[in-house]
Symmetry: C4
Subunit: 379 residues, 4 copies
């Protein structure tokens, strides 16, 4: 892990260790992956106007997010079925996040239970929810999350149906995965992942009462999620939860406004990491307009494409309260389990601190819009 | 065909099955193919602003085009000599289009007759016309199309002479094709196409009384079409037809205005798939100005570069009534005949429905300009 | 030559036949060749808004340039030492230009004499002048050009000293060339060019009284040209010539205005084909501002980057009277001598006529600014 | 060296001669090297509007910088530890700079002493300072620099901590370098550099009293520099120096204004060659705004990305007094020692003179904003 000096190195390490159908599931996006690519490359359209001679002998990247103090303006985004990537799964991520002092978001579709995660993590935790058909199941999950000490609810709204992830289609990825004859050769070349996978308990959606059948994500979603879910259902849900809440998957100002009116405390600007509707705008490209619209009434979090400390600082300079990301820790997890996640979060922490000093700010409160501008490129 | 999960896969399948000179005829464009490329890539300059929590459990992409109800806002564009690509030719395309519930446009230069197509298709059908020198021939075709139940006439106006298609020039493509010594090796490597081609009746322009000589398209056009054709001839033609009519090949607002004044009900914004004048503008780039000009008086259809459901939705968000495309079904036809066309149209149907749900719309009527914006890219 | 269907094919044929140091001399530009590349690629920033149904059965690309009727709005630009590229040299180009009905510009540094060219060409001819140190030599050349029937003078003003052509530097190109040991292998691989070169009379600047020493172009220019030449010298020169005159190498509006005030009838917008100051603007990118400034008082000609009929039509739509180009015929000359030049000019002629028909214009007088617009590209 | 006709050639020569870990230290930048690349490529966004017929038989690129007459508007930027690249180190660069008539800037972290450099160079010299923890050391250095005849002080302010130079991290570069087992093979392939390195006195920071331990630059900087240094410390420093002064590493107009108010005579617009905060703006892209802000009160110098004479002229046309660069001479030094530096500076000198003549200016005073414009590129 010490040889991995940035997240791109961790990604390459994940390619070497994890089965390709698993790596593709982390790495891929919808259709032609325009949005997937744009999420990250859009950051290059923004420059950082560093300030000098302010005295940066001590830099503090700490902030408050929905009232909770965190070490970094950085959240570990929810991601489904982490045991697919490494047998240590969500437990490794939750533990490392708590140690790093950042908020960990547990997915409804996690392969570790609400309670098991709470046991390994005393840090700040949020619980992510998809819009299930079964309201009783939803209420049960909310109760469990509350009981286990999760402080906020994240509702993912950009997933009414599954996106068209062609890598997974071509890989014939089922969850839990079925190793088909065409996958054997790749499995043999990744003995570490394969042995772990074969000798571990079967991967399942740990928070669902029923057993998970091995089917494609699209089929599972069509069967379990509620595409009819709308703003009225949200009102019911927020009433049930009655606590801090974040809506995830907003790119339009009218949706942001309505989310605030409906009672959300946080807006996560996101396109699901480019995995749903291709040609969705990059979060960094709509962040400003969302903040103009609801920045006074809600905390805005950018989710998508963040890889470097400079990306974090650009989002903050444009007005975000924090950023959120899953792929960085997933690359670490797939590469090496818990130590890989630690390495990922450590690189994030170090790059944010270093880049704050180089930008000329001692605290996130000092970062305003004067520190960012559009790259004036024409040629 | 099940392995083809998008149109790019079908295109690759067509490369493998069809003789290169035939594939190039489908695939190529004029001069340096700037417009050919731009037609498709221009869509990347537009982003989709998806909406959330509207309840998309049922999505209906149906619409009315020139008064006809269709399953999709998607038309099968006219294309010449389909038997070149697969022995099943236009009949396969017409049949699959009818089954998909979309409008099929039969080319004047089809290799199947007006009547034969009508026999296999009870779905909506339009008849496409080039501007022939021989007015009697035109009247005869109009009468036959009317008699056979074609509901609208499409007049192609961006083809006064043939464009400079250098792939065809270098391939020495004649229609019907002559297999020259230099083509034999490629023919041997595509036994499926070659056997079909050798054991089928000769390809001919089925709606022309005279026999088609084997000459280049440019020479045929120069001999048969009327480069002198102008708006006065159009008035005569519309008088003869006296029914719903669409003009195909418009990029200028003044031409669109005149077309409406002359009596056309529909405007097909098109540059002939990049096969005529290179550096013609991409249809998506002029669509807005045409709709501003004549959108209240005529239905505007975008033809050119459409490959994904997202492309369709962008055109609709910019105000188009529908899109039109030929290459997608031609790739399917060249790859596998009727099942290939079915696959192509099925992929189109599924992607439009999925992308509507992800965009947050339940019907095409809901799609307005708030769902699209220019990609804010500089770097 | 029949296999060459465009100028890029002719260029490739030139690579195959001519010695690399000679090909590089035609093909190369200054410094990093930014301007060389931009001259051609800038045309892609302009789109053609074709018009339909105007009746294009007969298209006439003829025009008048400085009072002379020509078949095409296209001029053969001056180029030095054509015998370097093919033993037939300027005589082949002049003859083919006359046959094509276009204006031929003979360079001061031609390897054929003013009189020899006049003998093979009864077509329109202009004489190009560099700013020599020796005024007597200049007067003598003007007298000879007038006597031989050259109708206009072109003064090249973007060449006070030689540009930094690094290909020639690295090739150690002298004029006439010296075949050094390192060039022998390439010479052996191009026997056609090499035999011609060895068995032809030595290449010399045919219009200079003194013998040409074999030195680099930069050294020759430093010795012979007058870097001190300024607008006062121009007044003297125009007084001596007392006939139609064109200034070549203008990109600024203030220079264009002064040129008109000084008495020039034509302004050739040019950066010497990207061979002088790198990062000079592409002619197409400054054409509009120059025409706005002096279009009413002088004829403006675009020189640089023209390869396709569409390029010609874009320049005309932006207000140019004609375009001018040397590389197209030089590629033809280097590829095959006179037949190569014929092919180049034939391709130019055919592409202009075809593209006019596709654009929907019957004469160059019909081409106005409505036919061109900037490509609206962002992504 | 004669085969090197531009700085890119010298860079390639440096690759061939110097050990890769040394070459990477010269060549590399921070993070993903966006800013490193952009510093140079941003120049392509600016075009040069050359002027004609002004008489350029004699061109003088001389200018005054902070009151000192120099041969060129070009400064040799400070760079640490030059003996790493070639055993002749700073002495070679200082000597060649003096011979070229340009200002040489000696780094605090030089591997040659203030006095040794003064001995070999009677030309204009500036002394660069980092912000050391030890004020006594700073005072001592200022006294030595003054005594040795350095005319101005440059304070580098964009280096509160070390940037994230991943090439150096991966190379495990220490200063002085430790040849680890993994470096031996590359050392054997560069015998010239290796023999020099092994048989020379150890590389040390010659102006520091203590011995330099072999540690990474980041660790050294953290131990020795004062990240708390701020504008108040600067006031103390300028009081101690009491002479001409330049601040290096400014990209913001507010910092430029404050620098002038604090007493600096010169502003060096710089991002430390892309080695500190990635996504800092390219100097050429912020130059105009800085000059608008403080151009009347201070001399503005552009540092970063300059490789061609055209780059220099663009900066001057935008209002810079001069440019500054280190990599060009470092490539020369690494390639061949003193003759390499000579070659680099000779190429710079020749290209500035040639490009002034081609631009149509006889002195730097003639270069105004009419000579530059943004490249109007869209496609």
């Amino acid at each position: 892990m010490e040889n991995c000096v940035n997240l791109a190195d961790l990604r390459r390490a994940a390619i070497r260790r994890a089965h390709p159908i698993v790596f593709d599931y982390i790495d891929g996006g919808a259709d032609d992956e325009h949005t997937l690519a744009r999420n990250a490359t859009a950051f290059a359209d923004y420059e950082l106007m560093f300030r000098v001679l302010v005295g940066v002998e001590s830099v503090d990247p700490g902030t408050r997010i929905l009232g909770q103090q965190t070490t970094l303006p950085y959240i570990a985004s929810p991601a489904a079925g982490n045991r697919l990537f490494h047998t240590e799964g969500e437990l490794a991520v939750a533990r490392a996040s708590a140690e790093a002092g950042i908020i960990y978001c547990l997915s409804t579709l996690a392969s570790a239970s609400i309670e098991a995660v709470a046991e390994v993590s005393k840090g700040p935790k949020w619980f992510q929810l998809y819009v299930w058909k079964d309201r009783a199941l939803v209420k049960e999950m909310l109760d469990r999350a509350r009981a286990a000490g999760y402080q906020a609810l994240i509702l993912t709204v950009d997933f009414p149906i599954a996106g068209n992830r062609e890598r997974d289609l071509k890989n014939q990825l089922f969850i839990p995965p079925k190793i088909r004859p065409r996958h054997v050769w790749d499995a043999l070349k990744r003995p570490g992942w394969t042995v772990d996978y074969l000798f571990s308990p079967p991967i399942r959606y740990a928070n669902l009462s029923q057993d998970s059948p091995a089917i494609s994500l699209a089929d599972f979603v069509a069967a379990q999620l509620n595409a009819a879910f709308d703003w009225h259902d949200v009102e019911w849900l927020l009433g049930e939860w009655n606590g801090p809440s974040v809506i995830k998957g907003i790119v339009r100002t009218d949706d942001a406004r309505r989310a605030v009116a409906t009672g959300f405390n946080g807006i996560m600007v996101s396109n699901h990491g480019g995995r749903q509707l291709d040609f969705s705008p990059a979060p960094i490209d709509v962040l400003g307009s969302i903040i103009d619209e609801v920045g006074a009434a809600a905390e805005v979090i950018l989710d998508g494409g963040v890889r470097r400390g400079t990306d974090v600082l650009k989002a903050l300079a444009l007005g975000a309260r924090a950023v959120s990301a899953a792929r960085p820790y997933l690359y670490g997890l797939a590469a090496a389990g818990y130590p890989g996640v630690r390495r990922a979060l450590d690189l994030v922490d170090r790059s944010i601190r270093r880049d704050m000093a180089l930008l000329g700010v001692r605290s996130v409160a000092e970062i305003d819009s004067s520190f960012v501008r559009r790259t004036p490129r024409q040629a």
